[in-house]
């Protein structure tokens, strides 16, 4: 059994230690908010926070996540998350919505570190998250809006 700390709770899974955290979350823990997009850390749909850092769960073997704090979209709390998710809804950012869990996890990590990101800060922090619907303009606007709310 492998013990993980997910969203502040200790959970036990019976898994191949090499299984990526993404599949442990989705298939073993039934937490499906974190999405599968590419399996190669190219698209960011599977972004979670590990010890606060945005991390691609599809390339993180569960064995390397032991004894670290894992936060998924289901466990997002606090003023930064509220501001980001509020801005996303206020500006109707989403289209198909499939990438948005990952986008929001990256945006929350950005605004936690950097209270007033510039456009180039946003480019750097969000470059790894693909949105095939092309909602980037609204993602950018929502991050600025959330920063304003938090100021």
């Amino acid at each position: 059994m492998i013990s993980l700390d997910v969203n502040g709770k200790s959970v036990q899974i019976d898994a191949d230690p090499e299984m990526p955290l993404l599949w442990a979350l989705r298939d073993l823990l039934n937490m499906t908010g974190t999405k599968f997009g590419c399996g190669m850390a190219l698209c960011g749909a599977c972004t979670v926070h590990i010890d606060g850092q945005p991390t691609r769960a599809c390339q993180t073997p569960v064995s390397t996540a032991v004894d670290r704090k894992i936060t998924t979209i289901e466990g997002l709390t606090g003023p930064v998350a509220a501001a980001v998710q509020g801005a996303w809804q206020k500006l109707d950012v989403v289209q198909c919505g499939y990438c948005q869990s990952g986008q929001i996890m990256s945006a929350v990590a950005l605004l936690t570190e950097n209270k007033k990101p510039t456009d180039s800060d946003i480019d750097a922090a969000m470059e790894g998250n693909i949105c095939r619907c092309g909602t980037y303009q609204r993602i950018r606007a929502a991050i600025h809006d959330a920063a304003k709310q938090l100021a």
């Binding site: 989403v94 480019d123 303009q137 950018r140």
Partner: protein, 739 residues
């Protein structure tokens, strides 16, 4: 550890988008049933309604509107929402006619039932495509909303013993004098009233949501911002096995033999079965299924497979283009006129195969219920075909196949598959294991990207000439590419004479007045499967038309906007969007060196879009600084969703303009994931402004029409910045500045 959550619970996780709410307009039948279609207005009983039960064009509130005793109004959405926002738009139509409060509105995907939910443009078939979801629902849903409102008002008049003329509805409240009632309070008595045949529809001036800025917000925003929206990939059924399939690496390849010895040793792999499209590995989780597939050894038979490279197929297209083809359009005598013109443009354009590359890889869940009927979950887009496909494979009648349509994580055309390819595959797998467990078929990104159903590879050759006044005198055009329709189960929808309209749309029906026009088509015959890709034929025809027109304007020494307007005298809506985009973009104002502005205008799916791109070119790099679009899609029901679709069309199309290609080497697709087929990323996204033409014309589509003009407006802007005319897509930027 294993998954035991009942999906019925997870499907309803999104409270704004709740398919499980109890009650209905027939509050009398608050049985918790989901079967809405077929409730008889007169008796409240659930009954099957056969074709023709509703006269054509009749109001069908019971099929589309549910009003619960809890005062929640649910609109049944017969179309797939794959991001285009159609659930919000269609709900707004009903809410407006009903004079409901937006806060009480919900949407739910309709069940698969072509008798009630056919797409009016597709005949007796339920499905979404051609950007027509709004257009084919407009009258239907206005009538349904108006009928439901009248039934509520009649119920109130009866209850209060007042004249119907003294009853009105304001934002979800039915009012007469000092009397007030909510919809929920009246639902039960309204439900049993006869459905009015011709309910009065609103005048446009009385709309409270339609076309009103800020009046509605997307119904799916909250669920999709909190990770609670349910997609096919999120479905979990008790005892479910996940299947990953080893597919042929070449199109048309077949399994000769396979050795499952090593694959069976992989932890949690349960079963390995042969199916028509390959070998399926079933496991207790996705990771195990993927590992199992890696360990599987399959020998393929490529006897009838496509084994050529895409370069060789394109070379064949070019040879075909030297010969006369099928006549797709003919006016005047282009050949002889072109012999006499002094100024002409001769151009050829190549377009590669393109993958749709939606973020959610294709997947779906299927199971056999204890009564022998079948149930499936996915982002279904051609429900009637998908239902029939499962029925045929699993050996049950179509009405014994229940489809649960879910949000799709993108489609861009890929899920609208005439062969129901991935749906058929999941049915074959569950059948191959004798229905012993629910099956979740999951395509990996590699399966999705190498699995075909691409935007066709296409070659165009054009010769166009000017008359002495600098107007277009003649245009001769040959198109070579594989037809989407020919050879598909939808071939009968094809126009006569072997011409697939989706191969030549945007050329053969050009809005430009050209006195001598000759358009010919050769159908490619390669063994690569092709499909509609967001805006279909217009993805390539707009690039050709708008680049050649731009080159002709330059040859005539005329301004590109003025030149287009000279040729759009019979096309007022094209002309109007072109003028608006030019005005908003500051057309004609000077730009610094290295920057350029380009324009394109194109109609697709009865929607008119003009776009002005501003670019900066340095070395062999292009930065798109700004995009200004003007759109005429008739009545703009939800203006912010319309803007979002055009913004998104720019983001979607940009990578196909700059770099994306699917190529084959010896029949094998070379691009397998987002590293080699990279969609647009955040830093590349230009600022996009969208201006909507006010209109009282019936609403038309907006999911696709933003795409066609992205390529040519950028290509023409690069020409303005550098003097160099690029043509083919993706643009070859190497050496653009002569370096």
């Amino acid at each position: 550890m294993t998954r035991s959550t009942d999906t019925r619970a997870s499907t309803s996780a999104a409270s704004e988008f709740d398919a499980t709410r109890r009650a209905f307009l027939a509050g009398a039948v608050a049985t918790g049933t989901l079967v809405v279609a077929g409730l008889s207005a007169s008796t409240g009983d659930a009954m099957a309604i056969g074709p023709g039960a509703f006269p054509a064009g009749a109001a069908q509130p019971h099929a589309f509107v549910r009003i619960g005793t809890d005062n929640v109004v649910t609109v049944l959405i017969k179309h797939l929402d794959k991001g285009q926002g159609v659930t919000t738009g269609l709900t707004a139509i009903v809410a407006d006619e009903l004079d409901a409060d937006w806060g009480q509105m919900r949407a739910a995907f309709a069940p698969a039932d072509h008798r009630l939910y056919a797409n009016a443009a597709f005949g007796p078939m339920q499905g979404t495509g051609g950007s027509n979801a709004t257009a084919n629902s407009w009258d239907q849903l206005r009538k349904a909303g108006a009928a439901a409102k009248q039934m509520l008002m009649e119920a109130a008049a009866e209850r209060w013993n007042v004249r119907l003329g003294d009853v009105r509805v304001e934002r979800g409240v039915v009012i007469s004098g000092d009397k007030r009632a909510t919809f929920g309070e009246l639902a039960a008595s309204a439900a049993i009233r006869p459905v009015p045949a011709n309910p009065k529809l609103k005048d446009a001036k009385d709309y409270i949501y339609i076309g009103r800025e800020g009046a509605v917000t997307r119904l799916d925003s909250r669920a999709k911002s909190t990770g609670t929206a349910t997609y096919g990939l999120d479905i979990r059924r008790p005892g479910m096995l996940t299947a990953v399939v080893a597919h042929s690496p070449k199109f048309g390849g077949r399994v000769k033999s396979f050795d499952a010895t090593e694959a069976k040793k992989v932890r949690d792999v349960v079963d390995i079965v042969r199916i028509p499209t390959g070998v399926a590995v079933l496991a207790k989780n996705t990771w195990a299924a993927m590992k199992g597939r890696e360990a599987l050894k399959v020998t393929w038979d490529f006897a009838v497979a496509e084994t050529r490279s895409s370069d060789a197929i394109m070379a064949e297209f070019k040879r075909q283009a030297t010969r006369p083809g099928l006549q797709a359009a003919s006016k005047g005598d282009a050949t002889s006129v072109l012999r006499g013109v002094v100024k002409k443009v001769e151009a050829e354009f190549e377009f590669p195969y393109l993958a749709h590359a939606a973020m959610e890889p294709l997947n779906g869940v299927i199971e056999r219920r204890s009564d022998g009927s079948m149930e499936a979950w996915a982002g279904f887009q051609f429900q009637t075909i998908e239902q029939a496909t499962i029925a045929a494979i699993c050996g049950v009648p179509a009405e014994r196949v229940t489809l649960n349509t879910l949000f799709a994580g993108g489609s861009f055309g890929r899920r609208a598959t005439p062969t129901a390819d991935y749906v058929a595959e999941m049915a074959h797998i569950v059948k191959a294991i004798d229905f012993k467990a629910p099956v979740h078929l999951v395509w990996t990104r590699e399966d999705d990207m190498t699995g075909g159903m691409y935007r066709p590879m296409v070659y165009h050759r054009v010769t166009a000439g000017l008359d002495p006044s600098g107007k277009i005198a003649a245009w001769q055009h040959r198109v070579v590419g594989k037809s989407i329709f020919i050879g598909s189960p939808m071939e009968t929808m094809l126009a006569l004479n072997g011409i697939d309209p989706t191969s030549v749309e945007g050329v053969s029906d050009t809005a430009y007045s050209i006195p001598n026009l000759d358009v010919q088509l050769h159908n490619g015959r390669e063994g690569v499967s092709v499909l509609w890709w967001r805006s279909v034929g217009h993805t390539h025809t707009a690039q050709v038309m708008e680049c050649v027109v731009d080159e002709l304007a330059a040859a005539a020494g005329k301004d590109p906007v003025a030149f287009r307007l000279e040729h759009l005298t019979g096309a007022p809506r094209e002309a109007a969007v072109l003028k608006l985009a030019a005005e908003k973009a500051g057309w004609g104002t000077p730009l610094p060196a290295g920057r350029g502005r380009g324009v394109a205008v194109h109609e697709s799916f009865n929607t008119f879009v003009a776009m002005v791109a501003e670019v900066t070119v340095s070395a062999d790099k292009v930065k798109i600084d700004r995009i200004v679009a003007a759109v005429d899609c008739g009545v703009a029901i939800t203006p912010d969703v319309i803007r979002a679709q055009v913004e998104g069309a720019v983001g979607f199309a940009l990578s196909s303009v700059l770099r994306n290609s699917i190529t084959l080497r010896d029949g094998e697709v070379q691009e397998t994931n987002f590293d080699s087929f990279e969609p647009t990323r955040m830093p590349e996204m230009p600022k996009v402004e969208v201006h909507i033409i006010p209109s009282s014309e019936p609403p038309t589509g907006i999911g696709e029409p933003g795409v066609p003009v992205v390529g040519p407006s950028i290509t023409n802007a690069i020409a303005a910045a550098t003097g160099k005319r690029l043509r083919s897509l993706p643009l070859n930027l190497k050496g653009l500045t002569g370096a």
